[in-house]
Symmetry: C2
Subunit: 253 residues, 2 copies
């Protein structure tokens, strides 16, 4: 079903990274379906990429990998020839939503930014398909890019995605609140970047339970009260509820 | 007031790092007041450190740097000879709480872990004292360790500390919740570490406002609802309030 030729739908954050990674690892990208891509985007690749603007222009006999937002997946799959093997990169879309067998999941647990390099070899990929042989082929394909490939059913994948929302989306927004607060007080957010880096570094060596410090950890209610007073609206609410959660976590210390 | 000899009180996360950094940069640590330190802790230093167990054993004519929890600072300062210059490393303790002039702030905006190296040269230090000459001396002392030294009054320092609570303490706890959730579902938290690293890496290049992705950013209410259902108690509350804050932040997109 899968040979060394692939079509990709989408040239955004995920698509652009996977196109590069496949090309780097000897898999030919023959077609990219994208409304915004230009041939210059692929000029450094070994693959001879043809840009297409409709699903009907994709070869029916090779894998189509959908690197598109969740809400586009269903209709794209429906437009493909029933015989065409197709996989998608979403953390959330349930495999049970499709009534064909040759559909699979190729989920990289990472945040991709177009134009920003990262080490794909370290990215965990999660694979799923109702067709065992197809799942195995997707597994082998991911294995050409990464050394962290696992099978995971839709329920497991959703759990990983939920945890990823905390680790990526929420961490990022917490930093947005810190920056907004410093901006409002005419202080530089840049000053906090070494702290952010060290916070993450520490988590490579210690569990977050062990690494916790700060006023809530040491039950310093007088500081907590002053911080709450200094904040407003949702920011204050977030301060309160995370602080309460830290207090609960260490209540027996 | 400050020559090249210093006494340090505390050999914990902050103290142990500053002792090493001073020693590396040609400042002699003559005395360390610590109840837990042993002479082996300082055997690799160029400084010939004497461990003492009471404030009265510290030389009266050189700087004493207090690397101790906030609630210990007031009483330690009170025990020191009125002529002894003293500084503390806290982000929160107000300089106005002291009725002597030769007291100052030497606040490193970083999370230190005893035994874990970091690049002190990148750590921002914030300096304050009512005595201008003493402030300048503390500034010069910090400048021997780091290239990011600034004067900051107590109000500014508290704001930086509040932002640091978000960036460090809250980021860490958010990761604790993700780990707890994965542990409960028998999934590996380690799988999320490349994502966490990339999340932080991205913030060195983009603002958190630009870097935001995920279901709340793209207003994917069906996923949000499923995530909320999958969580309980304070974890659910944290998911809700941060999601609401992201929705508010991008409401006009």
């Amino acid at each position: 079903m899968i040979n060394n030729k692939i079509s990709i739908v989408g040239n955004g954050n995920v698509g652009s990274h996977l196109i590069q990674a496949f090309d780097d690892n000897g898999i030919e990208i023959t077609h990219v379906f994208s409304t915004s891509a230009t041939i210059e985007d692929f000029s450094s690749l070994k693959s001879d990429v043809q840009i297409v603007h409709s699903v009907s222009e994709l070869p029916a006999n090779q894998l189509v990998l959908l690197c598109v937002p969740d809400d586009k997946i269903q209709s794209l799959v429906a437009q493909l020839d029933k015989s065409t093997p197709v996989a998608y990169t979403s953390g959330s879309v349930d495999l049970a939503s499709f009534d064909r067998k040759n559909v699979g999941v190729f989920y990289p647990l990472q945040t991709f930014t177009k134009g920003k390099n990262l080490n794909i070899f370290e990215v965990p990929f999660f694979i799923e398909s109702k067709d065992e042989a197809f799942a195995k082929q997707l597994f082998n394909l991911a294995w050409k890019l990464s050394r962290k490939v696992e099978y995971a059913n839709s329920a497991t994948r959703k759990k990983l995605h939920l945890a990823a929302v905390f680790v990526n989306n929420f961490t990022n927004h917490i930093n947005h609140i810190a920056k907004k607060y410093l901006d409002a007080n005419e202080l530089e957010y840049q000053l906090l970047l070494p702290l952010l880096q060290e916070t993450t570094q520490k988590l490579l060596e210690k569990t977050p339970f062990e690494a916790q410090t700060g006023p809530a950890k040491r039950k310093d209610y007088s500081i907590i009260e002053k911080h709450v007073e200094a904040l407003k609206g949702t920011d204050q609410e977030i301060y309160r509820v995370i602080t309460q959660s830290i207090l609960n976590t260490y209540q027996n210390d």
